[in-house]
Amino acid sequence: MHSRERAEQGEGSGNSRGARGPVMDIERIDHIVDGHQGEASALIQVLLEIQAEHHWLPGDALVRVSEKLGVPLSRIRHIATFYKAFSLVPRGRHELQLCMGTACHVRGAPRVLDTIEETTGIQPGETDLDLKFSLETVNCLGCCALGPVLEVDGKIHGRLSSADAVDVLKAYE
């Protein structure tokens, strides 16, 4: 719920400075855009790089991208809300991605999800108040032989029981 409140804040102000989380350096954004020769068709790649570095897309970063690439802000927001990789609200320090693909599902992923929700106090799509974890469920990570699979900050934990999931989460600060 708290993450939704924050989302509304971000939407309302149109500027990330009011929200928590560090503000993105304009020069860094220019550097990313220039890395793609400033081509408007590279918009998604630019946003992915900002998201990867910053864990979310601050409003002023989007304004800067819009100016640099000459793409209307409305189109950038359309893209930022359409693709699952992007977040318009601050994200936790650690990204939890639980695979809910069919293979993981038949091997017990829903039970693991229950445990993660209980342990972290957040539901898929949310971030906790300490900005420690963000939780997402994803379609299929392509590690079906190891299901159920939880990816934390890009590291894959496979053959996960609910008890294993609790242990994995304990390792993150």
Partner: protein, 471 residues
């Protein structure tokens, strides 16, 4: 590395590479695919490197992080050449013993071998394991033999010879004709004849055209494209360049989904290597043909696996499909003729050009030629990637290769084609696998996910999982 200016220079480079390699020298290949890395392959590789250093074996023993051989259930997988000894579920603690016993003394570490659950017999070599023995590995066979991040390894195994043949000894029309005659059908799920698609693009009006690799593998339970792109990225590039030559395209894209970061990394590196060698760029191998490729990472949208949505995403917009009154091979990316094929389809192209359509069409059924890679997952003893000739029965896949259902449970159904396919029940297990056969049975080939369900799987739950999400 100098640019290779002609097919002869490519051959000379291959000769140099093989003369530099002693086929009898030990080589340790550790699978560095996503599945094995998740089981700790990274730590195993580090342990081998440290052990080789410590024991002063660096001059004699080589070591590589290889592509995924498909037996993900038993990872990390280690294969020791030249004997091809295959060790499964290797941990860093096993490394010292492997180095002292196998590398130094030439003996086998019995406890790390595959044990047949039925007979109790051990299998020393990969090819002795029943999971592999029944397969026909045309596309996957190189994965465990090569370092996924080395163009030298790919070239040493004969890589880019099909490209050299196409550019120097075949016209674009002849390449197209060969692919048409092979009856290669799209492996992404549609099963559309690749040659026909290519021809439509070649004949379409306009000067600019594009070729695209669809690596937005979104079918839950399927990971063959990930294994190919991560494990043997040059084979996909080679197929793509040949396709571009056939239709007259000079720009290409590899669209990889965001969930596959290692595939993005490896294919990006492969492109840089191919550019440095003159296998991409201007005047490829001294011919008059120019071609360049870019990698586009997806941003997490399931729908972008659909061809027109994917092309819209490549243009930097929201990936939404459009009606296909005019096919994308005529009007696709930026409204130009664009050939989009799946990863596995492109991987077949070098084989067809090298060995010919006559050879290729010997494998398979009337309507479906060649092999197909399936990802065999769910309630099955041997989980992993299986490459089989078209026409094999579902029963052979589930029982002979997959080793049946674990825990003595009864088979209930196998889902092919992912959520939009169907669940094939027990009485149809003798069905031959092929595009038309699976469609007739009410399911479909799809991209190759094969999800086995046993007596405990609730079909209602499966149906609920695949319902439309709450909006």
């Amino acid at each position: 590395m100098d640019r290779l200016g002609s097919p002869e220079e490519l051959e000379a480079f291959r000769q140099v590479l093989s003369s530099r390699r002693d086929p009898s020298a030990p080589c340790i290949a550790v699978c560095a695919g996503t599945g094995c890395l998740a089981c700790g392959a990274g730590e195993v590789i580090a342990a081998f490197k440290a052990a080789i250093d410590e024991q002063d074996l660096t001059a004699r023993v080589s070591m590589k992080g290889s592509g995924c051989p498909g037996f993900c259930e038993r990872g990390p997988v280690v294969v020791i050449y030249p004997e091809e000894i295959c060790y499964l579920q290797v941990t860093p603690d096993d490394v010292a013993e492997i180095v002292s016993t196998t590398i130094r003394e030439g003996e086998v570490v019995e406890r790390l071998l595959y044990v047949d659950p039925e007979t109790g017999e051990r299998a020393t070599r990969e090819s002795d394991i029943p999971f592999y023995r029944q397969q026909e590995r045309l596309l996957l066979q190189s994965n465990i033999k090569l370092d996924s991040r080395s163009i030298e390894d790919y070239v040493a195994l004969g890589g880019y010879s099909a490209l050299a043949k196409a550019l120097s000894r075949m016209t674009a029309e002849e390449v197209l004709e060969e692919v048409k005659r092979s009856n290669l059908r799209g492996r992404g799920g549609g099963g559309f004849a690749a040659g026909k698609k290519w021809e439509g693009s070649r004949d379409a009006p306009g000067d600019d055209r594009y070729v695209i690799v669809n690596a937005d593998e979104g079918d839950p339970g399927a990971f063959m494209d990930r294994a190919l792109l991560e494990g043997n990225p040059h084979s996909i590039l080679e197929g793509l360049i040949i396709g571009a030559y056939a239709i007259g395209a000079h720009e290409g894209y590899v669209y990889v989904r965001q969930e596959y970061p290692l595939a993005v990394e490896n294919v990006t590196l492969a492109i840089e290597q191919a550019e440095a060698c003159g296998l991409l760029g201007t005047k490829i191998l001294g011919s008059g043909f120019d071609f360049s490729v870019k990698v586009h990472m997806g941003a997490g949208a399931f729908v972008c696996g659909e061809s027109t949505a994917l092309m819209t995403a490549l243009e930097g917009r929201v990936g939404e499909p459009r009606p296909k009154y005019i096919r994308s091979n005529v009007k696709g990316l930026w409204n130009k003729p664009s050939v989009l094929n799946n990863v596995e389809t492109w991987a077949n192209v070098p084989l067809i050009i090298n060995q010919g359509a006559d050879w290729y069409t010997q494998l398979g059924t009337e309507g479906s030629k060649g092999t197909k890679i399936f990802s065999l997952v769910g309630k099955i003893t041997n989980t992993g990637l299986v490459e089989v000739p078209m026409g094999i029965t579902l029963r052979d896949i589930v029982y002979k290769i997959g080793g049946g259902i674990p825990g003595g449970k009864r088979f209930k159904a196998v889902q092919t084609g992912g959520p939009s396919g169907g669940c094939i029940p027990e009485h149809l297990l003798d069905l031959q696998v092929g595009f038309d056969e699976l469609t007739e049975a009410g399911s479909m080939m799809g991209s190759g996910g094969m999800l086995v369900m046993d007596e405990d799987t609730c079909m209602v739950d499966v149906a609920v999982l695949h319902r439309l999400p709450d909006v």
